[in-house]
């Protein structure tokens, strides 16, 4: 029996038999799907400046919380072998933190005025972050099939590096922006910080998923 085939059987055993396990697996997928939807809405918010979307982004974060609690409860009630549970908890927690941070961006967007020279790089970061969320979802599907996650991991690192470069440009530009009050500057700073933080968190989530896969070999 090949190594890959063995891993696939093990994953099927771990991920596919019991309905409790199935609920966890489906719950995590829905959670990742929500993260991707939320990132897409963030792109639209920054691009079209449609503040109505802020409420929707916050709603998605709440939906994410509900799924997270349900997944945690299934895990607590005994889904998966004890060895797997902490890793799955951690993965879901990190994805949830990514959703919280997207919500933060939307909230700060409501408070801060994004100067015109920062709009284009901010949209660019949001677009790349949404691509990363899509890749994380693809990676999860690939993981379920028992296939190698190397491609998705590399692609996520590519985006992370590109986001770092744009983030650096934003920071350089920010030096020249004049603000009228402490809070105006604070909100804008937090908006930019949170915006680039989402990609770091998605990268962390990808690392944990990859570790789970390695630990199953």
């Amino acid at each position: 029996m090949s190594k890959k085939h063995g891993l696939e059987i093990m994953l099927k055993r771990l991920l596919g038999k019991d309905s409790r396990e199935e609920q966890v697996v489906d719950g995590i997928r829905n959670h990742l799907r929500l993260l991707y939807d939320q990132c897409c809405l963030l792109v639209k918010l920054l691009k079209d400046e449609d503040v109505v979307l802020i409420e929707r982004i916050m709603d998605i974060e709440r939906e994410g919380d509900i799924i997270r609690r349900r997944v945690f409860s299934e895990l607590f009630e005994g889904a998966f072998i004890p060895y797997m549970r902490p890793h799955l908890y951690r993965f879901v927690e990190i994805c949830d933190r990514a959703m919280d941070t997207v919500e933060d961006v939307a909230k700060y967007y409501e408070l801060a005025q994004v100067p015109s020279n920062l709009k284009e790089p901010a949209v660019s970061i949001a677009e790349m972050t949404s691509s990363m969320a899509e890749l994380l979802l693809i990676a999860y599907d690939t993981f379920q099939k028992g296939k190698d996650l190397r491609d998705q991991m590399l692609a996520i690192r590519v985006y992370e590096k590109r986001i770092d470069d744009v983030d650096h440009t934003i920071r350089l530009e920010m030096k020249n922006i004049s603000v009228t009050s402490f809070w105006e500057g604070w909100w804008l700073g937090e908006l930019c910080r949170s915006l680039s933080l989402v990609s770091d968190i998605i990268e962390d989530a990808m690392d944990v998923l990859s570790l789970i896969q390695v630990s199953l070999r």
Binding site: E120, L135, D141, T142, K147, Q152, V158
Partner: protein
């Protein structure tokens, strides 16, 4: 995958009348390998000067970089692709012409650059996206 997704929007420009020394200073300061060359006459298309041009056409020839103007050794016009072109088209062009980068233009205006590293990253991402269909 479109060129606009992976092009670098940050481009540095230099005047064709500037000296090669100025160009070297700018390349080292910004840690980049090429500069878009602007003519004083705005109707003329933009050109490009690369680190390779400077090393092969000036430094290795023992010429004084302070006495040579950027316009004398730059290549005109730049090779352009549209932001809506597929990366594969840009890649073919780069291979045929043996270029390390192509510029992304809208009309006569250069809005970005697509280098070999960007093409490599784009192909990686494309492969990763195809993961769930494989």
């Amino acid at each position: 995958m479109k060129v606009s997704e992976f092009m670098t929007k940050k481009i540095e420009c230099i005047n064709a009348d500037a000296s090669i020394y100025d160009a070297i200073e700018r390349l080292l300061d910004k840690r980049i390998r090429s500069l878009v060359v602007k003519n004083a006459n705005s109707h003329k298309p933009d050109g490009v000067i690369t680190a390779r041009d400077i090393v092969f056409k000036v430094l290795s020839e023992g010429k004084d970089p302070r006495r040579i103007k950027v316009g004398e050794i730059a290549s005109f016009p730049v090779v352009c692709v549209s932001p809506d072109d597929e990366i594969s088209k840009a890649m073919r062009l780069m291979k045929e012409m043996n270029y390390a980068r192509v510029f992304v233009c809208e009309g006569n205006c250069v809005i970005g650059v697509l280098a070999l590293m960007d093409v490599m990253q784009a192909s990686l991402v494309e492969k990763a996206r195809a993961g769930n269909h494989a």
